[in-house]
C-alpha cells in the first residue's frame, strides 16, 4: 500500500428527518477503496447504498464522520471546491441515466466539458473536446449515433452515453449507482465490460448493485447491512 487509498470513509453517519421521525440510514460506515480498485457494494433495498454513494460523490453531506478522496478530506470543502471536485475527480453514472432530452448524444457526453470551460475558452477548445467526446462514444460503441436524441436510443445505449459523460473529464473515481439495474443481463454484461475496461485504464470504480452475478465481477464486494459496512469473510 504505497499509494494512498482513492476513497477513505470513516465512521460516516447519515440521518434523514421525516417529519418527527428520524431515519438513521448510515450508522458509522467505514471502508477503504484502494487506488485502481473495482469494488461493488451490495445490500438490501433501503439499506443506504445510494445514500453512501451520494455522500462520496459530494452530492450530499454526511452528518458525522470523514470522507477522504485522493488524500483530500472533503468534509470541510467550500461549495466552489466541491464543484471543482465533482467536475474533475468524480464521474457519476445513475440508474436512470438522466440524460438531457434536448441534447443529442454528442452534446450530452460533452456537457461536463462545457460546464468546465469558460465561454471565452470555448471556441478555441471546442474542436478538441468534440473529438474527445466522439472518441469516448466510439469506445462505448456509439460512434455512429452521435446526432441521435436520447429518446431514440435503447436503455443500454442510454447508459453507455451516461458512462461516456461520466468519463468526459477523465475522473480518477467513477461512481455507478446500479448501472445495470434497468437492463437485461446481456446488456448488463456489455456495460460491465465497459466498466472493467475503464478500471483497466486505471480508474477507481465503486459500483452499487443488487445483482450478485454483476457484483461477482468486481475485485471486491462490500455488504451494507443495517447501516454498517461488512466485508465478506
Amino acid at each position: 500500500m504505497s499509494k494512498p487509498p482513492a476513497i477513505l470513509v470513516e465512521g460516516v453517519h447519515k440521518t434523514y428527518r421525516l417529519g418527527r421521525q428520524d431515519l438513521h440510514v448510515l450508522r458509522g460506515v467505514d471502508c477503504t477503496i484502494g487506488d485502481g480498485e473495482f469494488v461493488a457494494i451490495v445490500g438490501a433495498s433501503g439499506s443506504g447504498k445510494s445514500t453512501l454513494l451520494h455522500l462520496i460523490g459530494l452530492l450530499d453531506r454526511a452528518d458525522e464522520g470523514g470522507i477522504t478522496l485522493d488524500d483530500r478530506n472533503v468534509m470541510g470543502l467550500s461549495a466552489g471546491a466541491c464543484n471543482r471536485m465533482r467536475r474533475h475527480e468524480i464521474g457519476f453514472v445513475f440508474q436512470f441515466y438522466h440524460l438531457f432530452s434536448e441534447l443529442n448524444v454528442l452534446d450530452n457526453a460533452m456537457l461536463p466539458a462545457m460546464v468546465d470551460t469558460p465561454l471565452l475558452n470555448w471556441f478555441s477548445r471546442r474542436k478538441k473536446l468534440r473529438a474527445k467526446a466522439a472518441g469516448i462514444l466510439d469506445d462505448v460503441g456509439l460512434g455512429d449515433r452521435l446526432k441521435h436524441r436520447p429518446r431514440e436510443l435503447s436503455g443500454g445505449e442510454r447508459q453507455r452515453v451516461a458512462i461516456a459523460r461520466a468519463l468526459m473529464n477523465d475522473p480518477s473515481i467513477l461512481l455507478a449507482d446500479e448501472p445495470t439495474g434497468n437492463l437485461d443481463s446481456k446488456t448488463g454484461a456489455k456495460i460491465m465490460k465497459l466498466l472493467k475496461r475503464c478500471n483497466a485504464n486505471g480508474q477507481t470504480i465503486l459500483m452499487v448493485t443488487h445483482d450478485s452475478d454483476i457484483a461477482a465481477q468486481a475485485d471486491r464486494i462490500l455488504h451494507l447491512v443495517d447501516g454498517l459496512m461488512m466485508e465478506p469473510l
Binding site: D60, R87, F94, L111, M114
Partner: protein
C-alpha cells in the same frame, strides 16, 4: 459556456415558451408604437411652438405696449451680436365677419406683422399656402395666385371624386356624407371660378387697361341699361305710330348695337372690379388667415383640408383697440376694417391656427390705437410714440440650446435697462424676455405629462409579460429538476445553474423584443397608410384630427427602441429571477430523486 448552450437548446424546443415570447412581442409592440407616436407629437408641437415665436420674445408688461421698438432693435443688433433678426409684433383681439355669410361672426386674435421680416424671425413663411417661395409681401404676384389656386382646385377635384367613390354600407351617416360632398363641390366651383377669372385677367392685362379706358369713357357717356330701356320704349312708340319701316329698321339696329355695348360694358365692369379687388386694392388691407378659421376652410373626416376662400375674398375685422385710448369710452367701440384674403397660414399649433388672422403691422397699429400721436400745433412733434406688443428675435446659431437662449434673453433685458433711460416714453416700461421654450412651457408640459402617463400605464400592462415569463420558467424549472440535478452532479455551480434560467428569461424577452420592435417599426412607418385604409375601406376614423395634425408622426427614434428592448430584457430577467433562485437552491440529490 453551457449556460448559453442549454438556454439556446431550451429555446429551440419548448413550445410553451412561445407564449411568453408572444406576450413580450405585444408589450414591446405597444411600447414602441405609443412612445414613438407621443415623441413624434411632442417633437411636432415643439417644432411648431418654436416656429411660432422665433427664439426669444420680449413683451411689455401690461397692455400698454413697447415704444421705440425700431430704435431698440437697432440697439440690440449692436449690443447683442448673436441676434440675427428682429421684428415687432402686435397682438390684438377682435371679431371676424365674412361677406356673403351674414350669420357668421367669430372672435379672433389679430396679429400685426411685418413682411418679410416676420418670416425671418419665425416659421411663418413655411406655413403659407400661396407664397411658398420668394420674397414674402402683402401684395403677391397674380401669377403665384393663379398657380396655387389652380393646383388647389385640382386637389379639391380629386378629393371630391375620391369622396364620391367611397362607399358606405349600412346606416353610415348618409346625410353627413352627402353634405360633405356638397361642400367640397362648392369649394371646387369657387376655386375654378377664381382660376378662370384670374387667368382671364392675367391674359388680358393689356386689354384690361384699354377696357378700363373704355369703361370710363362709356360711363362718362352715360351708357347704361336705362338707355336700352328707353330705346325699347322709343321703338315700341315708333311702331305704334306707324313710322316708316326703314326708320324702324335703323332704330332696331341702333338698339341692337346699344344692347351689345351694354352687355360688353357689364362684362368689362365685372372683370375690372374683380381684378381691382385682388390687384389694385389698398395693400394695407390684406389679411392672411390661420388655416383652421371656421367657414373659410374645413377638414373632411379623412383629414383633408378643403379651402373655401379664394383670392380677394372679403372679410370684415372688428378690432377692439388695446392702445392708449383704451381707458376711455372709445375702447367700447371697435375699429372696423374691410380686408381681402390673400393667403392662409398653418403653424401646426391647433389653437393658434383656428384663432389667428394676420394683417400688416402698421394697419393693426392704427386700428389698435398704437400709432404715433403728433402735437396739434407742431405736426412734427411726437406726443406719444408708436408702439408694438412684442419684439421677436431670431439668433444666429442654427440649433441654439436653451442655455444659450437664456443667456441671450438676459443680455437683451440688460440692453433694455440701458436703453429705456434714454427715452422718456419708455422709461416706465418694464419688460420680460422669454425663450420660446419658456413661453410654450404649459403646452409642452401637458403633452409631456400625457406621454409619461401612457408609459406608466403600458409598463403596468407589461407586467403581464413579466408574469408570463415567471410562470413559464417556473414550470420549466419543475420539469427540468432532473437536469438541474445532473448539472450540479457534474460540477455546475449554483450561480451557473441560476444563470441558465436567467439567460433563458432574457433570451425569451430578447426574441420577443426583436419581433415586437420589427412589427412596431413597420406599423409606425405605415401608420398613415393604415389610417387611410381604415377610413376609405370601412369609413372607420377613430382619430378625429381636428386641426391637430395632418398626419401621424411616423418617425421612430433609435433611443426609444434601445430603451424598450433594454426594459424588455430586464423584465425577462426579473421574471426569471424567482425560478432561477429556486433552481440554484435545489439539492442535487433531491433533484435527482425527482423521477
Amino acid at each position: 459556456m453551457y449556460k448559453f448552450f442549454l438556454c439556446f437548446r431550451y429555446l429551440k424546443s419548448r413550445g410553451i415558451a412561445y407564449l411568453a415570447v408572444l406576450g413580450v412581442v405585444l408589450c414591446v409592440f405597444m411600447m414602441v408604437v405609443v412612445i414613438s407616436l407621443f415623441t413624434g407629437f411632442i417633437n411636432n408641437i415643439e417644432k411648431a411652438a418654436k416656429g411660432l415665436f422665433g427664439d426669444v420674445v420680449m413683451s411689455a408688461e401690461g397692455q400698454h405696449g413697447l415704444a421705440y421698438y425700431d430704435e431698440f432693435i437697432a440697439e440690440v443688433r449692436k449690443k447683442v451680436p448673436e441676434v440675427r433678426e428682429a421684428s415687432p409684433y402686435i397682438l390684438s383681439y377682435g371679431m371676424l365677419r365674412i361677406s356673403g355669410q351674414e350669420h357668421y361672426r367669430n372672435p379672433v386674435q389679430i396679429a400685426g406683422i411685418r413682411l418679410p421680416e416676420h418670416a425671418e424671425v419665425s416659421a411663418f413663411g413655411k406655413g403659407l399656402f400661396v407664397q411658398k417661395s420668394g420674397k414674402l409681401s402683402w401684395d403677391p404676384p397674380v401669377k403665384d395666385l393663379i398657380a396655387r389656386i389652380e393646383q388647389e382646385s385640382k386637389r379639391t377635384g380629386e378629393l371630391k371624386s375620391k369622396r364620391e367613390a367611397r362607399k358606405f354600407d349600412g346606416p353610415h351617416r348618409p346625410l353627413e356624407q352627402a353634405n360633405e360632398i356638397e361642400r367640397i363641390g362648392n369649394a371646387l366651383r369657387l376655386q375654378e371660378e377664381a382660376v378662370a377669372n384670374l387667368r382671364n385677367i392675367d391674359r388680358n392685362r393689356a386689354e384690361l387697361t384699354s377696357l378700363q379706358a373704355q369703361l370710363e369713357e362709356a360711363l362718362a357717356r352715360g351708357v347704361g341699361r336705362e338707355d336700352v330701356d328707353q330705346g325699347r320704349k322709343a321703338l315700341a312708340q315708333a311702331r305704334a305710330d306707324n313710322v316708316a319701316p326703314d326708320k324702324i329698321e335703323a332704330m332696331e339696329s341702333e338698339l341692337e348695337a346699344l344692347e351689345k355695348a351694354v352687355v360688353r360694358l357689364e362684362t368689362i365692369q365685372r372683370q375690372t372690379s374683380y381684378y381691382e379687388r385682388i390687384a389694385y386694392e389698398n395693400p394695407d388691407r390684406r389679411v392672411v388667415l390661420g388655416l383652421g378659421i371656421e367657414a373659410l376652410s374645413f377638414r373632411t373626416d379623412t383629414g383633408d383640408v378643403v379651402r373655401l376662400w379664394t383670392p380677394g375674398q372679403k372679410v370684415i375685422l372688428y378690432v377692439f383697440p388695446l392702445g392708449r385710448r383704451s381707458m376711455d369710452m372709445s375702447a367700447l367701440s371697435p375699429e372696423i376694417g374691410n380686408f381681402s384674403v390673400i393667403d392662409d397660414n398653418r403653424s401646426g399649433v391647433p389653437p393658434i391656427d383656428s384663432a389667428f388672422v394676420y394683417v400688416p403691422f402698421e394697419t393693426l397699429q392704427k386700428l389698435n390705437h398704437m400709432e404715433a400721436e403728433y402735437s396739434q400745433e407742431d405736426p412734427k412733434l411726437v406726443v406719444a410714440p408708436a408702439r408694438c406688443s412684442q419684439i421677436i428675435f431670431k439668433v444666429k446659431a442654427d440649433q441654439p440650446t436653451e442655455e444659450e437662449l437664456r443667456g441671450i434673453s438676459r443680455r437683451i433685458e440688460r440692453a433694455w435697462l440701458g436703453f429705456r433711460g434714454r427715452f422718456p416714453g419708455a422709461a416706465m416700461t418694464s419688460v420680460s424676455v422669454e425663450t420660446w421654450r419658456q413661453r410654450q412651457h404649459e403646452l409642452l408640459s401637458t403633452v409631456e405629462g400625457q406621454r409619461i402617463m401612457m408609459i406608466v400605464i403600458l409598463s403596468i400592462v407589461s407586467m403581464v409579460a413579466v408574469i408570463l415569463i415567471f410562470v413559464i420558467l417556473y414550470v420549466l424549472v419543475m420539469q427540468k429538476t432532473a437536469d438541474v440535478g445532473i448539472l450540479k452532479a457534474i460540477g455546475a455551480s449554483s450561480t451557473g445553474v441560476a444563470g441558465v434560467f436567467l439567460l433563458y428569461g432574457a433570451a425569451l424577452a430578447a426574441v420577443g423584443a426583436a419581433i415586437g420592435v420589427i412589427l412596431g417599426y413597420r406599423f409606425v412607418r405605415n401608420i398613415n397608410q393604415i389610417a387611410d385604409w381604415l377610413a376609405t375601406e370601412f369609413g372607420f376614423t377613430p382619430f378625429r384630427y381636428g386641426f391637430l395634425f395632418d398626419r401621424f408622426p411616423d418617425e421612430i427614434q433609435l433611443h426609444t427602441v434601445v430603451w424598450v428592448v433594454f426594459a424588455a430584457i430586464l423584465a425577462g430577467i426579473i421574471g426569471a429571477l424567482r425560478p432561477a433562485i429556486k433552481a440554484a437552491r435545489m439539492q442535487p440529490v433531491e433533484a435527482l430523486r425527482y423521477e
